[in-house]
Amino acid sequence: MRDVYIIGVGMTKFGELWDKSLRDIFVESALSAMDDAGVDHIESMFVGSMTPGLFVGQEHIGALMADYLGAAPVPAVRVESACCSGGMALRLGFFEIASGNSDIVLVGGVEKMTDSADVTAALATAADQEYEVYHGITFPGLYALIARAHMARYGTTREQLASVSVKNHHNGSLNPRAQFQNEVTKEQVINATLIADPLTILDSSPVSDGAACAILVSEKYLKKPAVKIIGSGAATDRIALHQRDDITELRAVKVSAERAYRMAGIGPENIDFAEVHDCFSIAELCIIEELGFVEKGKSGPFIESGNTMLEGKIPVNTSGGLKAKGHPVGATGIAQVVEVVEQLKGTAGKRQLKNIHIGLTHNMGGSGASSVVHILKLVE
């Protein structure tokens, strides 16, 4: 396989972008990535999006976005794996370059969730329609089931869950593109409106519009400093949460991380910081366990004592994460890459980390039935 580099990234602000359409936000982020990379053409594109058909009634968005970007007749396809559609688009773009088929590829993600759709019902299509959703479960409900099991098994506390939201809102307050740039307290998180016990609205990522893109190249178009993709891993698990042997285990996350670490030839101890899929506070706890940052069951105290804060041992979700930055589902996996690239290049502004070399992105679909991990390294 050939080496693959990210030479440019771009994204829209995340939030309620009522004056812009699905195609507007995608093209805006694609142009900003192309400008950042200093390129005027692409050879192929992959567009991650979970369900534009349900959110705005538009499918076939590979062709739509190529058209409106002025890039037709390049090959373009939409990639779908629920909330990790963006991360999977990156992975396909990675292989497109690695295989030698293209030398310059645009990968992106987009979702327009605030137009008019029944968002809870649209998101629920990522769960098992016949055996979960039919019975009235929702995504907050599925993560609440995981939270309750994690609390019972490992003694994880309500306060520890809240500390994820507190940290991510603090980081979001330093990110001008975040949907929420306000701080919250543990008390506010715990006493907020219950959505699915024990999770409140402040344990939950918001409904968002947004898009993000990255330009991937082979050696042929390499411009330094760049960020090399040194590991890519993906995995799947049983689609219905109840069919998994252990409700607190996200096996697809664990396996996808192991695959990415193996490709990179490193382990979790070599990761300096990470952007992970905190769709709900409990998810960030389970994920950092599966990524190997902390022993299984110990994430609560680990987070509560500050290890994942900006100045901690392994900063997690420096962007504000899905919780504060926003979660336009298909865009999230690429927006994570935007953050890691900007941190590695030293352009992350007020939330800039110091002495970092290797970052990790983790993006997952549904209640964890699909997961994709990338490991990114600065090359100067």
Partner: protein, 129 residues
């Protein structure tokens, strides 16, 4: 007329029909063509146990369209006595009555009217015992 999609699910929703792998003996619900435990493709029909215990639970406070009028309602993952786990509502109790490990019985229930024709959908629910 119920839709084909609904009609197909009747054996599982009304009667908890499952299949048991002839190779490893594990039960799959709903029935599958390939055993997820051993990869075998030969099964015999079986029926799920109708009693079990709560593995984990929540109370849904915000629900999409079809269940919006029912909130708050409680949902649990139940491990049946034959080892199969299912997700279902737990009814006729208060949210604070639920606990991990509590015994339940699975019973037949009306779910909601489907589509424009309003065909009544049925399924299963759990009650504490």
């Amino acid at each position: 007329m119920p839709t084909p999609g609904y009609t197909r699910e009747i054996p599982q929703r009304y009667r908890l029909e499952a299949n048991k792998c002839k190779n490893c003996g594990k039960i799959s619900f709903p029935p599958r063509l390939v055993c997820p435990y051993c990869g075998a493709r030969n099964f015999e029909p079986t029926k799920l146990s109708d009693t079990g215990k709560i593995v984990t639970f929540t109370t849904i406070r915000v629900a999409p369209g079809r269940y919006a009028a029912y909130v708050p309602y409680s949902i649990a993952i139940i491990e049946l006595n034959d080892g199969v786990k299912i997700t279902t509502q737990v009814v006729d109790c208060k949210p604070e009555d639920l606990e991990i490990g509590k015994a339940v019985r699975i019973i037949f229930r009306k779910m909601y009217p489907e589509g424009k024709t309003g065909i009544i959908c049925y399924g299963y629910k759990a009650v504490l015992i």
